[in-house]
């Protein structure tokens, strides 16, 4: 007697089984929690800030805003003021260039203690140097400028040093990472001959990473031109100082010329960096 035929379990249903869409909220849905937290943060922010929308959107404010914007025209184009703006622009450029240069020098000085040079390197100075670099980096240029104004006085010198402080934090870290990631072969070959650490760095590691360090420095210079343009609003020289000075005196024509110069400078830098990148990547 043949065994009773069992129903064939492997046959598939003719239609795909009907499934409900997932519920809108379930405790395991990370995106739901993310959205809920985001909503809570946004609502709490708007609720606690007591923003003066009424004042901003009232007819009165619209009128004063219109008057304010109207005063920007025409920009002041008298030759002596344009000369002042040109001096401010040159000051901005000089601040950013010198600040970046100082930062690159500081970064090069700090790169040896900040990196683990070979696998057996105890690198005792690495953690404290990285901490210093992080501290330098996490304080924005403008805050550095505010702090340095007390020691260096009003003017572009404080701005230059502020840029140098923040940028040396950024560049030091980038340099250290470039050095740690450089191919170890040439350095190990010299080290095996008993060459000292500094000579190994100068003759093996630095020539390898120099193009990368240059490109980091140029990139930071580009950023610093933008930063230097506004740094002056706390009194640290350049176009920003002219801007806050004339805006404080409500000389709107002059303010608008300074604003135009600032935007032109930034646009010029953007265009130059775009062109340089295209030329180099070709």
């Amino acid at each position: 007697m043949p065994p009773p035929r069992l129903p064939d379990r492997s046959t598939k249903a003719a239609n795909t089984p009907y499934r409900l869409p997932p519920p809108l909220f379930s405790a395991r849905c990370k995106a739901c929690w993310f959205t809920a937290a985001l909503l809570a943060l946004v609502v709490a922010s708007f609720a606690t800030l007591n923003l003066q929308w009424g004042q901003f959107f009232s007819l009165d404010a619209a009128r004063s805003m219109g008057r304010f914007l109207g005063e920007f025209f025409p920009p002041d184009t008298s030759p002596e003021f344009l000369r002042k703006v040109a001096v401010g622009t040159w000051e901005t450029l000089a601040m950013s260039a010198l600040g970046t240069l100082l930062a690159a020098a500081a970064g090069l000085l700090l790169v040896l203690p900040a990196s683990r040079l070979h696998a057996g390197d105890p690198a005792r100075a690495r953690a404290p140097t990285r901490l210093l670099l992080n501290a330098l980096r996490s304080i924005p240029e403008l805050v550095w400028a505010g702090l340095l104004l007390i020691a260096a006085g009003l003017g572009p010198f404080a701005g230059t040093l502020a840029l140098a402080m923040h940028t040396s934090g950024v560049l030091g870290r980038l340099f250290a990472e470039a050095v740690e990631n450089a191919p170890a072969g040439p350095a190990d070959a010299l080290r095996a001959q008993g060459v000292g650490e500094v000579s190994v760095f100068l003759y093996a590691t630095l020539p390898q990473v120099l193009p990368q360090l240059m490109s980091y420095t140029l990139y930071r210079w580009e950023n610093n031109i933008r930063a230097a343009a506004v740094l002056g609003v706390v009194g640290a020289g350049g176009l920003g100082q002219l801007l806050s000075f004339h805006m404080g005196l409500f000389q709107m024509g002059k303010t608008s010329s300074v604003l135009i110069a600032m935007m032109a400078l930034v646009a010029l830098v953007d265009a130059a960096s775009y062109l340089a990148r295209r030329l180099m990547s070709r």
Binding site: K30, L49, Q52, A61, S64, V143, G146, V234, M262
Partner: protein
């Protein structure tokens, strides 16, 4: 070694002339920069200046830790985060419609050959608007709005909203256009509306990248909302500016520490979220 042993090694660096020339050329070029920036490091060691700086630095220790002051710092830190969040929310509200209107992928006329003239002009105009919004630094927007709405967080929120609106709009557009647009095009060709094509084709494809960029910008907004406080837009920056002007080093030190903690925390949160998004 291919060099024959009879040839003696050069006694001095054969490239020394070039090196000396380029070093002195750099120094000559550096001189005008130093003049323009009034580079005078010796003013640090002038006796009058040294005294003031020394006093200020000495007043850093001990850091101010009175309960009321700490409470005030906590409140202002929250305001800093709130200014950044509210500004980002408004920037997002500004950026989303501008992105939808300006992205080339959602153009119906571009499906068959060139985009028609009017839509092209509209898209180009919106792109220029985004560039203008983005190219004015937020600090300048804040200076302008402080004049209009007075000191306080409103100016900071508006400044962040405008600058970051421009940035978000531009980068959202780039993200949408850089991906694979086949699904969206198919939807559009088969008669779906632009909004449908966006929400069923473009958005699911790019949602993770868009969110990740927005979170990263939120982190940047926290940093810049501290800076905005220096021109009177409220938050931690404004208090820091006040304490610096009063030479109260202890308060400055506490606030700097809190600020660094805040930035590190935002960095962690944003990095974690972006990692989860993949």
């Amino acid at each position: 070694m291919s060099r024959s042993p009879s040839l003696p090694a050069p006694l001095r660096d054969p490239a020394w002339l070039g090196r000396v020339f380029w070093t002195s050329a750099c120094l000559v070029l550096l001189w005008p920069l130093m003049v323009a920036t009034e580079f005078r490091p010796w003013i640090f060691v002038e006796p009058g200046n040294l005294k003031v700086t020394g006093q200020f630095l000495r007043s850093f220790l001990p850091p101010a830790l009175e309960p009321e002051f700490l409470w005030m710092v906590a409140r202002e830190s929250w305001r800093t985060v709130a200014i950044a969040t509210a500004g980002m929310m408004l920037a997002w509200l500004l950026a989303v419609p501008l992105t939808l209107l300006s992205t080339r992928v959602l153009s119906v006329s571009a499906l068959s050959g060139r985009m028609a003239a009017m839509p092209f002009a509209l898209r180009q105009a919106l792109r220029w608007l985004l560039i203008v919004l983005r190219s004015v630094p937020e600090l300048v927007w804040a200076l302008v709005f402080v004049r209009v709405v007075g000191l306080g967080p409103t100016a900071g929120v508006l400044a962040i909203a405008l600058t970051y609106g421009g940035m978000l709009g531009k980068v959202y557009g780039e993200i949408l256009e850089s991906g694979e647009t086949h699904a969206t095009e198919t939807l559009l060709r088969n008669g779906s509306s632009r909004l449908q094509a966006f929400s069923y084709g473009l958005l699911p494809q790019n949602a993770a990248e868009l969110t990740s960029y927005t979170v990263y910008r939120w982190e940047c907004a926290i940093r810049s909302s501290v800076v905005l406080g220096f021109v009177g837009a409220g938050g931690l920056g404004q208090q820091m500016d006040n304490s610096m002007k009063m030479f109260n080093g202890g308060e400055v030190l506490t606030m700097l520490a809190v600020f660094m903690l805040l930035v590190a925390l935002a960095d962690r949160v944003s990095a974690g979220l972006r990692k989860a998004l993949g």
